[in-house]
Symmetry: C2
Subunit: 120 residues, 2 copies
DNA sequence: GCACTGACTTGCATTTCACAACCAATGGGT
DNA sequence: ACCCATTGGTTGTGAAATGCAAGTCAGTGC
């Protein structure tokens, strides 16, 4: 599976830039965060997260993350209903990323957001 | 300096979500990447990076990252001209984030982007 | 069979982004 | 002193992404 088959455009060959082409928006890493916390999440589960993602954005992100091999259906053969998502090996490998972001924000964003707490 | 003074809206109290409110776009972490690599960068320097950021987006991001205490002018008292940007302590603390993103993309995005290399 | 739920799609208004053009202030060459 | 290229932006306009509400549609549950 290559870039053109997913309709992906890459701004440069820099890995950081490529990562931002895939994950560089307000929602993708929150989807990853949820899956790191709960292992599996249904479409409805994602909607219940406290940031209130809208349905069209959620559907589009799940498609893109699936196309990029970061997440997958629990049962790839079955229909969408009651067929939650989970991280692939690639998605699991994002744990250090999300954790380092958590650590940074927890210690450097407190002054800006009085509500920032250890809570999710 | 608090959130309302910067006009910042937070979707939730989760640190990861707050971090995405600040850095969750295609460009911010590339600006950080450049500053991690070169220590100081002028406005023109940022424009020379291979992803070709447009001027209005660059100006807006530099403002936001400055407002959030991630970057600063080398000489805060002087005018903008010949007054490059550098990372604050908060910005320096993003090094583990950018490095873990680099490591992830380098090993998990290769199959999708044939051009992904160790080059910046 | 029929309502209900889960997983989306569609339509539309708003916001953000990209691209190009423009502008003001500095500074170097002569 | 004068020209003029460079730096660090701002402004305008069209395209794209986003947010919100409503609608669709295929399974269950009873």
């Amino acid at each position: 599976m290559h870039s053109k088959q997913v309709g992906m455009e890459w701004r440069s060959a820099c890995p950081v830039s490529c990562a931002m082409d895939v994950l560089g928006d307000k929602w993708s890493l929150l989807i990853i965060r949820d899956l790191l916390m709960f292992d599996t999440r249904t479409y409805s589960n994602f909607r219940e997260s406290s940031e209130h993602i809208s349905t069209n954005i959620l559907a589009e992100r799940l498609k893109r993350l699936t196309a990029m091999g970061v997440i997958e259906r629990i049962n790839p053969e079955a229909t969408a209903r009651n067929n939650a998502f989970q991280l692939t090996e690639s998605g699991q490998a994002l744990r250090p990323v999300v954790e380092s972001i958590y650590v940074w924000a927890d210690s450097h964003l407190r002054d800006f957001n009085p509500d920032t707490a250890a809570a999710i």
